[in-house]
Amino acid sequence: MSDPKDFVAGVDSDQRRSPQRVVFVTRRTSAQVKANYEEQVQTYPEVLFRVVLAIEILAIVLVGMALLFNAPLEGIADPTHTPNPAKAPWYFLGLQELLHYFPPVVAGVLVPTMLIVSLVIIPYFNINIEAAGLFLHHRRRRLQIFYVTAIGLLVFLVAFHVYVAAVPSLIVAIAMIVAANSSPQSKSASCRYLSKKPMAWWVMTWFLFELIVLTAVGTFFRGPGWSWVLPWRS
């Protein structure tokens, strides 16, 4: 064995935790820290106690709501009499809002399918696994792609008169421009915060923002014929 050995060996000194633990680190590689030793507690009783407590508090809140507010019940179903507007359950009102602008095959089939597919594939795209800020590397190129995408999206939304979705997009785009012009050394804390956010964060935040705005508009601001109404006027 004339070859120099290709690794260094070490022995873990924490006898209580693991009686014998040997680590080999090959040369020209750096050891990755994959896990830290952590203080742990027993699931029984510490975690189970908290779980039961959390569910009990939830139950008390919901029972209180059930005592105070009655579930809606309208007249018996009548196929000959269409209410105006006929609204879906609240969590689908974002889609129903889109249905107002786009044909059903887009708002009712294409958009939900795309949403589900993109939710499923999120963890399988290792983009930005180290979660670096979007504009911290390849700034020029990424800014170009960002401007093309953002302006394209906004023109598309405005062309179809989807101002309800265009406004949140515009706000997120402005936040992204702020992020692009900030760095982790910026003076303002919010600029530092935004500059560190990876692409996945921006996409999800945009989605969450659109979801909230579209659902809220569909729930509170839509009246007969899906016209714009103010909730405090009716």
Binding site: N36, T43, L73, I76, I122
Partner: protein, 262 residues
């Protein structure tokens, strides 16, 4: 007389019958506590130990736990509601009125079911976004995220099918609006629409189909996926710890191990 009760309890817990059911036996040692989790068919889905900092409210907001809580309330109230409900037209609506005016606590039962259902939809979404923003979907937890998406869809379907059951105007037209969307699917749209409703429009057949989906098929599917979802947490190395979350004192970094080696 606490002394006597303790003695009786102890005798019961040491009896042959009790020990045949709960094999781990009495004791407060770490081993006994670990066995209490490991030897229970429901609890063994969870790990016997949890990182201490995951207990803090800020790390998870207990959103998954609370979602489970709403689901349990929904099962209990749902089963009770089934005792008073006929999935037929127009009896379904009459049953709603009975729940409101005749059945004792019927209104409360329906209110609790309704608000818990709304809470569950909200909590599932909140749980998803919290998991995303913590980065807890990353490897090796990718597949658990996918199961979570499936559970999100099941939750939405459960809520949607339940929406029709009161058979009032609100229910009827919400389902009409929603089910009309399925017609827009290219090629097979009208077939899907017909399959879903058991007819060309929302009618008694649709009510029965939604009832079976709501009370049997979807809850069973939900239970199955919830079990896998929980089990995968353990299999994927416990709840995800975000790097930015502060370490506790006494935590030993594995990088020290490497330094010792050199």
């Amino acid at each position: 007389m606490p002394g006597k009760t303790d003695k009786i309890l102890e005798q019961v817990e040491q009896s042959r019958v009790w020990r045949s059911i709960f094999r781990s036996g009495r004791g407060t040692s770490t081993l006994h506590r670990a066995l209490a989790i490991q030897q229970n068919v429901f609890l063994h889905l969870f790990s016997t130990k949890v990182r201490k900092r995951m207990l803090s409210v800020s790390s998870t907001w207990y959103l998954g736990t609370l979602t489970l809580g709403t689901f349990m309330i929904l099962i209990i109230t749902g089963v009770l509601l089934m005792l008073y409900y006929h999935p037929s037209v127009p009896q379904a609506y009459a049953d709603m009125k009975d729940l409101q005016f005749v059945v004792s606590s019927g209104l409360f039962l329906r209110n609790l079911h309704r608000w818990s259902a709304q809470a569950m939809v909200f909590l599932v979404f909140a749980h998803m976004f919290k998991v995303f923003y913590r980065g807890a979907y990353r490897a090796p937890r990718e597949f658990n995220w996918v199961i979570g998406v499936v559970l999100l869809l099941i939750t939405l379907l459960l809520s949607y099918t339940g929406y029709l059951l009161p058979w009032d105007q609100l229910a009827y037209w919400a389902i009409t609006v929603g089910s009309n969307l399925s017609k827009a699917v290219p090629l097979v749209g009208s077939k899907i629409h017909f399959l879903m409703l058991g007819g060309n429009q929302v009618n008694a057949n649709a009510l029965l189909r939604f009832y079976v989906l709501h009370c049997l098929i979807l809850p069973l599917a939900a239970l199955l996926f919830i079990a896998v979802h929980f089990w995968r947490i353990r299999k994927d190395g416990g709840l995800y710890v975000h790097q930015s979350e502060p370490k506790r004192a006494g935590a030993v970094d594995e990088s020290t191990l490497v330094k010792e080696a050199k």
